[in-house]
Symmetry: C2
Subunit: 261 residues, 2 copies
Amino acid sequence: MNREIRNIIIIGSGNVAWHLGKRITKKGFNVIQVFGRNEITGRHLARETGSEFVSEISLVRKDADIYILSVSDDAIEGLADRLAPAEGIFIHTAGSVEMDVFKGIIDNYGVLYPLQTFTRHRQIDFEQVPLFVEAGNTDTLRSLKEFASALTPLVYEAASATRLKLHLAAIFACNFTNHMYYIADMLLKPEGLPFEILLPLIMETAGKVSVMSPAEAQTGPAARDSLQVMDLHLKILGSTPSLVEIYDLLSKSIRAACETV
Amino acid sequence: MNREIRNIIIIGSGNVAWHLGKRITKKGFNVIQVFGRNEITGRHLARETGSEFVSEISLVRKDADIYILSVSDDAIEGLADRLAPAEGIFIHTAGSVEMDVFKGIIDNYGVLYPLQTFTRHRQIDFEQVPLFVEAGNTDTLRSLKEFASALTPLVYEAASATRLKLHLAAIFACNFTNHMYYIADMLLKPEGLPFEILLPLIMETAGKVSVMSPAEAQTGPAARDSLQVMDLHLKILGSTPSLVEIYDLLSKSIRAACETV
């Protein structure tokens, strides 16, 4: 029999916990406690979700329907150990932690992985957040899917191995992409040029891949195989060896991709 | 005395020529000829701009106010040589070609560099396209600035050395970013996951840097220094050495950037 999720305890008060907690509350679920090490963000999230803040794990209630562990990857197992035994389902929200981290600790467990980047003071349209669920048994899977579907229309099942690939893809599409923005910013700063000047280009680059594949969208000197331009760029970057290495490696990777097509 | 620009000849019919030509026509300027090697795109652009298409350089008129050379970097000088002598201003639209490519060929010359990625079948909001101008003398600079200002409100002066840095920044923010999307796509394909699943994340990653710096926006395992997660990812990527290299290099670069802040 699958358990209906109504009463929720949030473990952690970082960015994922924050946005998930607010969405959960907005959708009419009952957050009963927030547990966290950070008193400031923890109390803030408790206030936002109308729940109690606890900073001692022994004070976490045992009767919640679900315990959402939104903490750093290496803290999940230890916390689960100390939270058990409990009545409800244990889930984590990490991209690269196997669901089986809960095995032997609790009967009902799973994962709810949001494929999005969360920032504390930035609102997110949760209708646009894909949630990937996985569970240790079919009843729990049914409960989790029902719960996730109340939060977003974009609910998918994904086993741990698939989720890992999703997380990797997200690192390229988000973390590494942001680092490209960072390097661009570093290149403009000494010229006294504001980063804002790149925003139309950045938005267009992101928008293009909603109507064509990244393979089709590729432009630039590497795609055109403009050796002279690339040599010139490597010369200019010469004073920053790490940038030479990145420019060279990514240009070669683009060439290889273009030759594959 | 600065020359008022009214009659325009476009040399080339690639993506930049295409979008610039359409904008120019829309803004009431008179495109009189399109010269190009490619008959199909050349005739198409001539039709769109209500001008004549010529495929022989000897047929290009000598009396235009401006000749916009939107061709590949290494074709600019040779074409300018064959177009001269002429009455009007010669400009190119390239990021990494010095303005002085025109020196000794024609008296009045300059550059009009659009900081945007253009795709043939995708409309662009030209009000959002920054144009960087440079000219060989003050009269020409005044003419070019007036012309550019009719096309977009975002007109800036930039010497060749600055333009080169802008182009480099654009390569990171656009070309390399698109390649990150491409790799993400490659990672999802074997799992049967559609690229579309990443679009909300991609748009949010791009949107974030309009309200905070890329340094502040950085998230992910490298930013958190999650060695275990990064090791796991490198292991998974192991079958594709080029991806291992990119993941490793960019993660280290993110670490270095986070330690600088």
